[in-house]
Amino acid sequence: MGSNGIRDRVAIVGMGCTHFGERWELSTDDLLVDAATMAMDSAGLPQEAIDAYWLGTMGSGHAGITLSRPLKLDYKPVTRVENFCATGSESFRNACYAVASGAYDVVMAIGVEKLKDSGYSGLVVDPPAHDGTAAALTAPSMFSLLAPAYAQRYGVSEEEMADVLARIAWKNHANGARNPRAQFRKEVPIETIKGSPRISGQLGVFDCSGVSDGAAAAVIVRAEDAHRYTDRPLYVKALSFVAGPGTGPMDDRYDYTTFEEVVRSSQDAYEQAGITDPRAELALAEVHDCFTPTELVLMEDLGFSPRGQGWRDVLAGAFDRDGDLPVNPDGGLKSFGHPIGASGLRMLFECWLQLRGEAPEDRSLASVQAGRTLGLTHNLGGQPGACVSFVSIVGSEPSA
């Protein structure tokens, strides 16, 4: 794949992340001011020190003015980006490239989404004018297609599949229960998860990520400048983004058990970061658990489990906080909901806390204590067979 990467050329020196949830009391402007302020305070920088901004939001605003007006920016460049559910990550990726290019010294990537004001269940996207022929599937339905297909291909019984999906939801809720920023902060018993009202196919309420409001931000500088701002910067090891050809829903060879976009972007990222065995090398992975079957399939697409073995690894606890590779130790989309522009940066925020030893004790990871220094974040947007995928790898140590 034709990417050169910018390994260790830029670093995160400050981050902020709001509490995610039903923030009836806060506007989009408020969330942006909060996240930006937290990130600047974290980096010890005044607003004037930031040269340029990348704002990720799917639908809470248009154009750079969405950020410059609430922050009263002094005629700074603000780029508004949108890339489905990878929107927040996309703001981060482009901000990193701007610093790596030498165009700016200090930039901010910030993402926000205010979903709860719509009054709808689940995500609602306003499509361009259309001919009315696209299948009107909701997001849970599109991703529920994975479950029967995976079960069929790998001979997993319906009962086993129910156990696997419930195990994923249980784990992420158990992690979120230990995170003060999460929308849902309660452990949920397996039986409650399995008995929840059906949303689509095998998926119940607890198989779906929540709907919430939130914002997060990161301050990025050249790696060689990082220690001016913090003793513990987070170095960017890899950034990969792909948009697939979108053929799955019309190609009878696609079997709904994998996201090729994720396979390609993770391979690219591992190559950039020099990773050969992600399950052994990563300290944590924050992955896009929009629905429980998504996380199952991601374990294989990201190379954490061999094909057809992801479900066994899930049941064996390989991705628990104390497992081989902790996945979504902050609680994931399951516990945070998915304010689209903010999610990717929220994932980075967990890497920021964990890899720098700032995570609270009840959520701290044995993998970090054992000396692992790398974290992965991943988003995908779209639907199985037609999506975009983002993978980043960050680390607390510069390469030798």
Binding site: T138, I199, S200
Partner: protein
């Protein structure tokens, strides 16, 4: 000699048990929430044309008392759904049941002049709860091909009597009709029926004793019963008008009953169709050599009589007579006119594209091949008649629908190609990977500003075979 070449009927899957609704005995047919006169007309027309039979059609005429659109032609949706040639004319004949008789007679005249007409009638008969129209109405469609040549039946003679009478009426836009006291219509229709029947038989040079199949129909079921008795036909010649199983399917019913009779008649038999609607019309026909079997790719009417019982409350919701709490999701926005026109062959006709380099099918049609990446090496690929298999599926309790849950599936077509679409007439508990399906034309939803969104769904094949 004017001939009917082919006849086919479409009955929707659902039946209302009249006893359960407190409106009498037997059942009536009910169009599903995603069907209307046009969509059912498309199904009947597809059946009567069989595979590729539309080439020889000069005009398509659509009859209904329940046109989905006013001030806009409905027949053009059929025309596009059937992939008829642009030069084939498409007209509506809507308003009352009488329209279909007039359209049939016009088509017969056209046939005598050498032109072929596809005559389609579809209807959704709705009445207020507890009304006679709710009880006696039925939903369905039927289609005939009339033209020179062919051997299903010939139209021998006609008789007609017209009268202005306030038996039933409806202000355009109202969902249901009003009717005058029943006895009035029964009295008025008697002499009209007598006159039309006598004129028709006289013109044919026949007496009522020569009639092998007497079909009497109309919305006034008491008048129909009386006229049937008064006709004096042989007892074995009186045809069941399907009132007890299907109900009277409005403008579709004359064609539906004619189709049923021709599927069972023997060649040479005399068939009389007597329609009571603001007067009476008598059509005298003689069954041709193709009679006694289905034509086109139709399922016989008798085979379509059994259905699946549906709850009365569901029917009321489907017809807009009972409002149910909507999901907390936005109403679907309207399909836009320009893309609907640009993509008309796809949207209405389910025409995809096929790569001429590698043969890969694309739904919707694409310019760049998903397999070999050839650009602009595509030809149109009609797929409405191709069957498929469910590759995977989702049962969506969240999506907007008049009848949740939405069942969506990924369908792989025989011979290649895939579509992600909704399933129609499906039991959510019984759908499975590997199920066989066929495509069916449906009204997906109607938007708040009154745009009907027509497109195709996949329907499980009865019995799972095929």
């Amino acid at each position: 000699v004017t001939t009917i070449r082919a006849a086919a009927a479409y009955l929707p899957r659902h039946r209302l048990d009249r006893a359960a609704a407190g409106i009498g005995r037997g059942t009536r047919s009910v169009a599903s929430y995603d069907e209307d006169a046009t969509s059912m007309g498309v199904e009947a027309a597809r059946a009567v044309l069989g595979a590729g039979g539309g080439d020889a059609v000069d005009a398509v005429v659509f009859c209904t008392t329940a046109p989905p659109y006013a001030d806009k032609t409905n027949a053009t949706a059929l025309h596009q759904a059937l992939n008829l040639d642009r030069s084939t004319a498409a007209y509506d004949a809507v308003g009352s049941v009488r329209s279909v008789v007039g359209a049939l007679r016009s088509a017969a005249d056209a046939a005598a002049a050498g032109r072929t007409t596809l005559l389609v009638a579809g209807d959704v008969r709705t009445g207020l709860p507890g009304s006679g129209d709710e009880r006696d109405g039925g939903d369905g469609a039927a289609a005939l091909v009339l033209g020179p040549g062919g051997d299903l039946a010939e139209l021998v003679a006609t008789g007609s009597a017209s009268a202005e009478l306030l038996d039933r009426w409806r202000i355009p836009g109202e969902p249901t009709s009003k009717v005058w006291e029943e006895r009035f219509g029964e009295t008025e229709y008697g002499p009209l029926a007598d006159a039309a029947l006598a004129d028709g038989l006289k013109a044919a040079g026949l007496s009522v004793g020569d009639v092998d199949h007497l079909v009497v129909t109309g919305l006034h079921t008491r008048a129909v019963g009386a006229a049937r008795k008064a006709a004096g036909a042989r007892a074995d010649a009186v045809v069941d008008d399907l009132l007890s199983s299907v109900g009277v399917t409005g403008a579709a019913h004359p064609l539906l009953l004619l189709t049923d009779v021709l599927e069972r008649a023997t060649p040479g038999q005399v068939v009389v169709l007597l329609v009571l609607a603001d007067g009476a019309d008598c059509l005298v026909l003689r069954a041709g050599s193709a009679a006694g079997a289905t034509t086109g790719s139709a399922r016989a009417v008798q085979d379509q009589l059994p259905g699946r019982t549906v709850a009365h409350t569901d029917v009321l919701v489907w017809r807009g007579l009972l409002r149910r709490e909507p999901p907390r999701r936005p109403d679907p926005d309207r399909p836009a006119a320009p893309p609907s026109s640009r993509n008309a062959a796809w949207k209405f006709g389910l025409v995809g594209s096929r790569c001429t380099e590698c043969g890969t099918r694309h739904l919707p049609p694409e310019r760049v091949c998903l397999s070999c990446r050839a650009i602009d090496r595509m030809e149109p690929e009609p797929l409405a008649g191709v069957r498929g298999t469910i590759a995977t599926f989702a049962i969506d309790h969240l999506a907007f629908s008049v009848a949740p849950p939405v069942v969506a599936a990924v369908v792989d077509f025989d011979g290649g190609g895939r579509i992600q679409c909704e399933l129609a007439d499906v039991d959510p508990e019984r759908v499975a990977i590997g199920d066989r399906v066929e495509m069916t034309f449906r009204r997906m939803y109607t938007t708040a500003d009154g745009v009907h969104n027509y497109f195709w769904k996949a329907r499980p094949i009865e019995g799972g075979a095929g």
